[in-house]
Symmetry: C2
Subunit: 144 residues, 2 copies
């Protein structure tokens, strides 16, 4: 009898991202999550590809899809919030799984003009507001 073939690795959201964020939507490539930090309107896109840490490890085809999904999330954030600037970043110094931040920034937000990462303490949304915010971004992504 032969051994069963090795299963290919499957995508699983990193536990730290699962803990810090809330589900918003599934796009063709990426899982979209809301950072549970009411200080900043902040979406995170995680391409559903296992074992990818860096943008340059994705296939060219996936990168073309990802950049369109990031642009979609950025446009939705800009329209929904009237932000002064959208910040986009893929850092991964703390959580190695490739994920892209899209953050609506305002000249009077608490980190401006610095980056949001590592600034102050995360301030979770009240539960009802968290659900409402996720639903509202989900609808905006669907209808954009």
């Amino acid at each position: 009898m032969k051994d069963a073939p090795a299963q290919p690795p499957s995508f699983r959201l990193h536990p730290q991202l699962a803990a810090d964020t809330e589900a918003v939507a599934e796009l063709p490539l990426s899982t979209v999550r809301l950072m549970n930090d009411s200080r900043f309107p902040w979406l995170i896109l995680v391409p559903r590809r296992p074992e990818i840490r860096e943008l340059h490890e994705l296939s060219e085809r996936d990168r073309a899809v990802l950049v369109e999904e990031v642009a979609l999330a950025s446009r939705v954030l800009a329209r929904a919030t009237g932000a002064d600037k959208i910040n986009v970043g893929a850092l991964g110094n703390m959580v190695p799984q490739l994920h892209v931040h899209a953050v609506a920034r305002f000249r009077n937000d608490e980190a401006w003009p610095g980056p949001v990462w590592g600034t102050g303490e995360r301030r979770p949304y009240p539960a009802a507001e968290l659900a409402r915010t996720c639903a509202s971004f989900a609808e905006a992504l669907r209808s954009a």
Copy 2:
């Protein structure tokens, strides 16, 4: 006599980027510059499109080219430096012209695991090292 037609706006590197960075290479869409900060191996890609502030303001075609150029710069940084992580970001809170950072990060660099933006004081390269570093990245981008 008719008035001369209005000239379309033309691309010009933002003076702050021109002051903080040094020319490395011209890719099909982006001007590549080296951040003149010897603390971090740090490339900046500026799409040569006038009056663009946000990723979602570029055309879809330009975004597909840009993400490949960013992946190229990231791969070159990773190979040249053996970095622990590449950070990619388009912030623009200080300089509104769309530009994308690709930064080689190390677990023992002075900002780890935080972002490089707004951390400490920029430490310019000595002139000869600046020229050598730019030439070396230019060659790596050409031959990648």
